[in-house]
Symmetry: C3
Subunit: 460 residues, 3 copies
């Protein structure tokens, strides 16, 4: 029994993984990465620009909003678990800091090479944060059940596959997906669901009592929810074209989210026990409107269309939490801690379909959004078909990729926690006691018992 726990000790595993990964990153950055035209002193000054033409002023405020979503939004959204707050926000921090560096290389390799060098600037920063978001979505499915080393391994492969899928969609097929309904949400969700399927734990009910929230942990999670909700208009518009495109995308997303919030509250009260609102729904389903507007948000969706999309997304998402998640767990053995299928999976697919339909209805007036349509290289319905094909490609990459990466993550060397230690910070963190909390103290004592074997053995 003790050998089983000894594996979870991170004293060498985590440092070795982090150091190797970071040193590889530094070497590759040294060889491959250079400033782009807008960050390089010489290049920028030799060109005859007004300072304002620097893309920094068009995109940096949006970048910072996205950055907050990645670190505070995703990080705190997952702090709802009573005894996994350190890991939620802390592992989110770690894998995001890794993934954004790795994504810069992978995405740059596929569509940022200039004379053998990867060019970086504010747009690459946004794209790297986007790719990171996809990894964090997958993290939500396995939250509480994986070691930080497993998560870093997942990030290495998921970022790579993300970059390939994104390259096929955006560069080869000419798909439009500025807010990432497909590339970020659908991909991240189905990848993560497949990973958690492979990592299925039949005896997870051993830690069932910890897989729930306490009063203040739900309030911490609301910080994450609200930052995601507020900044989603910036997320969807961060890399759309300058001018009306950024403006329109932000506006559409704003209305989609507002409508989604009302349908979420309605459905939560309607479906939950005794007419009482369920924090899980509010924290998650109210965001589905942002996901569902990810593809069509930059198009001429209109506020009216956006609100319909958001309204339906909220309904679908709550229904998913209430009725579909239990079935996925019992029938398909998919243990989805955060319910990413309801927040990112179904709304992502919905967003892809909305995008395909909207694209196929495009008229000449929205020429700039679809350059190939504007140039008469493509018909609108052809573009719509491309959008639909892109969804299928994304689902394929996500499911096959998640399957393979799940098996890699399953290797015992990566130190997955035991079933009884899931959803528990104290196997990875020095955890202080609670002020006057007797049960809390008891918990601490208990988990120290679990930890004992690690201390006596110190194998690795």
């Amino acid at each position: 029994k003790s050998g089983c726990y000894a594996n979870t000790n991170m004293r060498l595993k985590l440092p070795i993984t982090c150091f190797i990964l970071e040193i590889i990153l530094i070497i590759l950055f040294g060889v491959l990465v250079e400033y782009d035209e807008e960050t390089d002193a010489k290049k920028w000054h030799h060109s005859n620009h007004s300072q304002y033409d620097n893309d920094f002023y068009y995109r940096y405020p949006s970048f910072q909003d996205v950055h907050v979503m990645i670190f505070i939004g995703f990080g705190f959204l997952m702090t709802f678990l009573q005894r996994y707050g350190f890991s939620s926000v802390g592992f989110n921090f770690l894998i995001a800091a890794f993934a954004l560096q790795w994504a810069t290389l992978m995405q740059g390799f596929f569509h940022g090479m200039h004379g053998g060098k990867i060019h970086v600037g504010v747009e690459s920063m946004i794209n790297a944060d986007f790719c990171t978001g996809s990894v964090l979505i997958s993290f939500g499915a396995v939250l509480g059940k994986t070691s930080p080393v497993q998560l870093l391994v997942m990030a290495v492969f998921e970022v790579t596959l993300f970059a390939v899928n994104e390259f096929i969609l955006l560069s080869i097929l000419g798909t439009k997906d500025a807010g990432g309904s497909m590339t970020i949400h659908t991909f991240g969700a189905y990848f993560g669901l497949m990973v958690t399927r492979v990592l299925y734990r039949p005896n997870l009910d051993k830690s069932k009592h910890k897989n729930s929230s306490v009063y203040h942990s739900d309030l911490f999670a609301m910080i994450g929810t609200l930052y995601l909700w507020m900044f989603w208009p910036s997320f969807n518009s961060a890399i759309t074209a300058h001018g009306d495109d950024q403006h329109r995308t932000a506006l559409n997303t704003y209305y989609s989210l507002a409508a989604c919030t009302l349908s979420t509250y309605a459905m939560s009260a309607l479906t939950a026990h005794d007419g009482k609102l369920d924090m899980v729904h509010i924290q998650n389903a109210a965001l589905a409107g942002g996901v569902a507007a990810g593809t069509a948000g930059e198009m001429m969706l209109t506020p009216f269309g956006s609100m319909i999309v958001g309204f339906l997304a909220g309904i679908i998402s709550v229904l998913g939490y209430k009725y579909l998640s239990p079935i996925l767990e019992s029938k398909l053995k998919i243990q989805d801690t955060c319910g990413i299928h309801n927040l990112h999976g179904m709304p992502g697919v919905m967003g892809a379909i909305v995008g395909a339909v909207t694209a196929s209805l495009a008229t000449i007036e929205i020429y700039e959004v679809f350059p190939d349509v504007a140039d008469n290289k493509r018909t609108a319905s052809y573009q719509g078909a491309i959008q639909a094909i892109s969804l299928a490609v994304t689902l394929g990459f996500a499911l096959v990729g998640g399957l393979l990466v799940g098996f890699i993550m399953k290797l015992p060397i990566f130190g997955a926690p035991s079933d009884a230690s899931c959803f528990e910070d104290s196997i990875y963190w020095e955890v202080p006691g609670d002020e006057g909390s007797h049960e809390g103290q008891l918990t601490t004592v208990k988990t120290e018992e679990f930890a004992k074997p690690e201390e006596t053995e110190k194998l690795n």
Copy 2:
């Protein structure tokens, strides 16, 4: 007795209200709303603009700051109550998401119509958030004592009256009030005070023990306070004219708030028990400087003038919390949970007066702020008189409106909580237990007893 409680069940009331409201919104948006010149692909591209001229780049960062104030600022400011955090942040979220959509229609109807259509863009988004802020101020007065359905009903009417009052001030009278000392703060405060007066509960002391904070709930509230404080310069400058006006307004507000903070700490230590600081004062009165600079902030108030305004606002606000609020409750039967009279009411009136005085002292140099003064259509003192009249109009609308809407909200069908269930999340939310908190568990048990009648009857 049980019938009384049964009314509070939200299983059907809340979904029906949300669905009806959202469907009406969607239909009206479909009929009435279209993109403005800066968000519409065709219109923007046919005009010969630089991308940078798009108002998005002038105002979107300010919009996001305002957005954070509405959802995080107001939402978390109200989480100070020990057992009402879910409702504070959650109902704030719900009514704000509704109000911003409804405000877009109401404000657009009065001053955004173009050929029978309401035009939307970043400026309408900011204005809708502003109007929403006014509703959330009123929410502060009735916090803990109203059902979400009552709050939605309040929002429907308050937004409408806000838009009428705003139209009279800004479009008919030519009043300047960019930061909303009158239109937002004075209106929202006196409207809310009148509503809570109508909803007076003589036996509110039954839930007195829950109408207070615990240690960590006060820290959550400080998140709200600080975001309001930090972003208030963006709030006051969000819709002022481009260039020096936005710049100056932000600067003035920054100094007003800084000075207000020092006088707030001073007065709190001076008046509170034993020289100890009172979190209620710090969380609220330190913000009064932003309210009081709402009208004159865009004028040539100077940093010196701004600091005097903020300094006095902090003093007045703390004195209000300490001495006036108890009198309002005992003599005038105004139960003002958050003390909005001290944070928004008195400082709002003060801001209106400061604006009137500053306007009447305006010289030609500030022509752009007062176009009619610049064009010699008005004298400065005439503008000052208009500003003063606008305060009276606003107070009239707020008090009469609040009176009427209060009576509507009193209808039993909207499911107000019983006196003993006030300031208690568990009648509206699934509330998890506290980690090792015995009193917390007791509370949960008790409130489930309250909830029992609802379960057995399930009338509606």
Copy 3:
């Protein structure tokens, strides 16, 4: 014994200090401060600018990010203490609100005078927030052991010395230090360390049990950490030159922080007990990469160089927390509550050295960063030497200044808390009980016993 405690009563001390300081500020602002060309209605309109040329649009989003770092970042980072959250975030708020006003005057006096007047605008706001940051760093060293009056006294003197040191570096020596590795971090850290050395308490172990975190206080602290981490690119780039400089600085800092995060996690697991991560390291050392990129961030450091800097900064910082801090306390009697030596001291010195080396390697291509080098007035190696001399000057100012100011703060009239009352909110704040927390209630009772003498005497 009671006399000792009576001194800590703030009923008159704090109000008198706040009122005197604020009134002096208001008078000096009235005499000395006026709008600059970009905030003054007359001046801006008489010049022939596009609205977009107003510096507001170049810098205000960065200003707001810095503002969040000052009030939320620093404030919540220090809430990790179990019973000092009100003071951490509340005193941070107070002294920051004071310091930014005072800094405007002091910095303006040295480098913002135009015809006898101090000009203010968005750049002075950023600089004032920067100077405030330095004071808050010093606050971290004495956290829990000083009264708010002592902190205000410290701020008065520290801001003044900061402005003098900054003037010598930037204006006389021509040093480059846009992100303040020297002027902000090194200065604030060594100043604070000297102050805490002078205020050494041999019997501080009396309050040792309160000098630690609880579960949720560590989560609150993570809010501070993440906002500092996310917005550090804005901090370092806030006052660099428009265009590629701002862009490049943000980019460099982003990579430095990401690399620093991985080395921090690695070192924390490697050095901490049993391979478990230590929240103290994650909350603090992961930020060292931002500090260390403060000087060289605007130079052509390259992403590669930035990552190396961040990587090493994280390692040094964790080692400092683990091994150096205990030695500083036991051997040098430096009680550094937040470990500012590890987060700001060593990484600040490192940043200064990196800046000196990078400057000395500068070629003509980065002419704009070093105007004197570009104009052939200086060689690159001369600039490098100047950078190194600046570090020595800063250390001198900080150490001598901290020594003198420490002795001033030691005067009994400023009401330092007793050894047993350190790290305890309840001597300065009305503190509510905890929900069902028995130990919490006990603590409250105990501290009320401490407070008794104050109540009976009420001397001042």
